[in-house]
Amino acid sequence: MTEIWVYLSAQPLLWLTLTLAAYLLALALHRRAGGHPAVNPVLISVSLLVALLLLTDTPYPRYFDGAQFVHFLLGPTTVALAIPLHGQLKRLLGMAGPLTIALVIGSLTAALSAYAIAALMGASAPTLASLAPKSVTTPIAMGIAERLGGLASLTAVFVILTGIVGAIFASGLLARAGVRDEASVGFALGLASHGIGTARAFQLSEQTGAFAALAMGLNGLFTALTLPWILPMLAGLLN
């Protein structure tokens, strides 16, 4: 039994299969809960896998040898977001002005409030630089964090946690604030919570998902272009 485990645990196949199994279990729980946002598939899958890796004393790099095949699909799936975007293109173009204003206000609010709150609570410099770009999709966020003096892999964790927080709270929070239209909910989800927020938006409707995908792309671009210049100014003010 132990021998079989030693053999299998060194194979990419085992952790690839377990990643899919954990996700399918999380998805079943999500559906059983009637799609309730607190039963978030990413959060449950990650919790299951971390528990399993710790129990079996498996290092993360060995896990990733198998899981990288799933990770790779993130690229083509991001490209595929063009299809729902195309479906909503007329509506998106008709709202170009309001979308631009919401982008600037939302993007600066998300990044600067994260930095300011953590700075006032005494977080360390590398943690602060890794937190600031957390609303942006992982590869952009990692690049920005490195330019600001943060840690790329820590940023990836903050990005994922932000995505989960947004996916859990967005619809309830926005409804309470009187915001229920698909465009506003979708755009807020994609802007504040990137791909995980976009995944949540697609659970709500395809229109909501299209607006989330647009916000994710636009916020990535906007943050990459502005944050490296704006953040040092805020850091100067807080010190």
Partner: protein
């Protein structure tokens, strides 16, 4: 299905190439998404194979974040040491970002709601 996957990968590759050549600050797949959008506009829309394959992938977008998310275990020490500033900042800033974006767009577009498209 294979054709559709090859198309998505080709656009991702084009995005990566453009990013490397022009030193753009945006990742290759996001550029690839933009290129594919232009291509769809020029063609008048996706064919059924592309629409179905993309739909299946997007339906499981959550799954693609699981391997990177599991990397949380590498940073357990820092997350515990700085737990309060990190979690308060993450939750508060995400809530503020959602409200700022959603309310701004909602207020700016509210007057259109009753108007036919």
């Amino acid at each position: 299905m294979i054709q559709a996957i090859a198309l998505l990968l080709a656009f991702q590759l084009g995005g990566e190439a453009l990013r490397a050549a022009l030193h753009l600050p945006v990742p290759g797949p996001v550029i690839g998404m933009t290129l594919l959008l232009f291509w769809l506009v020029s063609r008048g829309g996706p064919d059924d194979a592309l629409r179905n394959t993309s739909g299946s992938l997007l339906q499981h977008l959550s799954l693609m974040f699981v391997p990177a998310g599991t990397g949380v275990m590498l940073h357990a020490g820092r997350l515990v040491d700085e737990a309060w500033p990190i979690f308060i900042a993450l939750i508060a800033s995400t809530v503020l970002g959602l409200l700022a974006t959603g309310l701004t767009l909602h207020l700016l577009t509210r007057h259109r709601a009753g108007r036919p498209q």
